[in-house]
């Protein structure tokens, strides 16, 4: 199967100190990967944004090489997942960033979309290439681990911020590109979320969850001067070979080495 249609979902961010609207770096990586794939596969590329068509941040995506950005207008109560899913029915590959910078940085959108469309999703992807009728991706994990996964198409792929992609902005492309508003979906689905949020400026540090303890003064004093911490084993005896053996056994016991 050839990839015929690629969609890239872009959101908008803000500069953390000045608050100036700007592109979201993760989404820009996804867009660049999408553009490269669409060239090699001669596939049609759709760039979609759910939000406000007048947001100046969208210009950045034009400069990055999107010919046209389709904006799905949203009301505060629209379900973005539903509106997007309606447009993505016949898309072979949906690319997004792994986590948006703005609004709800929950990282849930790619998963909700994949569930809605009933297609697979792979997150934290560093590289993408098509092999036969599948997509082979490289997934990022901490501690120097990487995993290769082959995934059936169509699929949602969320790109990791460390993807080795060079962003190339060109002002000429920003002038050429177009942003056009799509019509509001007719049977607009209300957002199903029943959660009530209270939003404040983040001025304080979050509080840690602690177990309630009803201690007498004496117990509190005791716990202040004695610590529960084991302090570890100390090995004083033996020659250096025996001591080295202790270290080796410790590493083995905790499966830190495989030999």
């Amino acid at each position: 199967m050839n990839i015929k249609r690629i969609a890239v979902l872009v959101s908008t961010g803000r500069h953390p100190t000045s608050g100036v609207p700007r592109h979201c770096r993760n989404d820009s990586l996804a867009l660049t990967i999408g553009i490269d794939l669409s060239h090699s596969d001669a596939a049609k590329l759709d760039v979609l944004h759910a939000g406000n068509a007048n947001n100046p941040a969208l210009m950045d995506y034009l400069a990055l090489g999107a010919d046209q950005i389709s904006v799905i207008p949203t009301e505060p109560d629209t379900d973005i997942v539903d509106s997007l899913a309606e447009r993505l029915g016949d898309t072979d590959l949906i690319l997004t960033g792994s986590r948006a910078e703005n609004d709800q940085d929950s990282g849930l959108l790619p998963y909700l979309l994949a569930e809605k469309l009933n297609i697979p999703i792979v997150a934290n992807v560093l590289e993408v290439r098509q092999i036969g009728d599948k997509l082979e991706v490289l997934q990022f994990f901490p501690k120097g681990k990487r995993r290769r996964v082959a995934v059936n198409l169509p699929a949602v792929i969320a790109i990791h911020p460390l993807a080795a992609v060079e962003l190339r902005f060109a002002y000429a492309r920003q002038l050429q590109g177009k942003i056009h508003s799509l019509s509001t979906p007719v049977d607009r689905n209300q957002a199903t979320s029943i959660m009530q949020w209270q939003i404040q400026q983040a001025t304080r540090k979050p509080n840690k969850l602690k177990a309630q303890e009803n201690l007498t003064g004496h117990e509190r004093l005791l716990s202040a001067i004695t610590s529960e911490n084991k302090g570890g084993t100390v090995v004083n005896d033996g020659n250096s070979v025996e001591k080295a053996q202790v270290i080796l056994s410790y590493l083995r016991e905790h499966q830190l080495i495989t030999f």
Binding site: G13, R14, P16, E101, N102, D103, D105, S106, G107, L108, Y111, L112, P120, I121, V122, A123, K134, F141, P142, K143, G144, K145, R146, R147, R148, V149, A150, V151, N152, A155, M195, W197, Q198, Q200, Q201, A202, P206, K208, L209, A211, E213, L215, H218, R220, L222, T226, G232, T233, V235, N236, S240, V241, K243, A244, I247, L248, Y250, L251, I257, F259
Partner: protein, 363 residues
Amino acid sequence: MTTRINPNRPSKIAAAGLKRIVLTAPTNLQVPHQQKPVRTKKNLNASYLVIAHSERGTLCDHALQTIAAAAILADAETNVLALILGELTEDLANVGADQVMVMPELDFEHFQPELELANISALIESIQPLRIFIPDNHTGDGDLGRRLIAHQKTKTAVTQVVEMDVGHVATYQAGGTSIAQTALPEITLLVANTVDTHLPFTALAQRSNQAISNQLTSNSYQDLGMQTIAATEIALEEADFIVSAGNGVQNVATLESLAHTLEASIGASRVAVDDGKFSRDKQIGASGKTVSASAYLAIGISGAVQHLQGIKDCRHVIAINTDASAPMVKRADLSVIGDAEEIMSALITLIAEAKSANLKVAA
């Protein structure tokens, strides 16, 4: 934080009408390390479910914190059930798991999200947990949690929870400039270090191994295998095994050869870097790098606070030092007192023997 002293604590009125506090005789003077009470012994129907992958048979601190969170939030009528995906060799009693269910086949090394989801959904269906808690990490659980949230559409859910108590959860929004609060949801994906794992109680941690029941007929994903970037190429911050040298290391060549046999990255204290033995990018500590290795081998490092700051997230710290009273020995999980050069050489020989024995067994 200080706790307010109870103004109504036991007192008697002395002769002059003065109120005198009576010191309650501490009952546990003789046995200061009393056994902690068990949180709840009843066999309960209602439960909080905690889901986490294990790594090498143990849970990371983040997963332990998530179990502790569930135990703190659970009332006396609610069970804390820890579902561990992958082998488990650790006891979870002191983080408050009443029941521990292990599914060894679903370990993190294999990418099988559909199989995991099918089995976990079946479990959720059968036990109907009141709430579900999952560590929001990058080693499988965050991914699984989001799949679960997308799958269990009717359940309320919040990811990236940075603050939580019985009444609410909070998460950052708009790139960390604002904080949003809502009621405690049914599924919580918890950020690391938001919970104090020190508990005044223990739990029974009754264990059962659960073979996976749901097999899949088709698979959308095919795992082509995990690979690890060579220790020499990886950034120190990302390294999983670090051999680190301090002023007590005379011979850099021995240390490098030890790091090589252990396939570990090399770090150093500031003094060792200042001496020109290592490049500046190897420095670990307050003015160097902060590392989070699973194993940190501190060789000839005294353990000044500025250095310890850089290794606070390391899981297993092993010290080699001539001085048993060095602060590093207090921090370390295992300390070996002796000369760095001798022990390093002995270790290199032992590892070489172990490796060649392994090869013979495999051949």
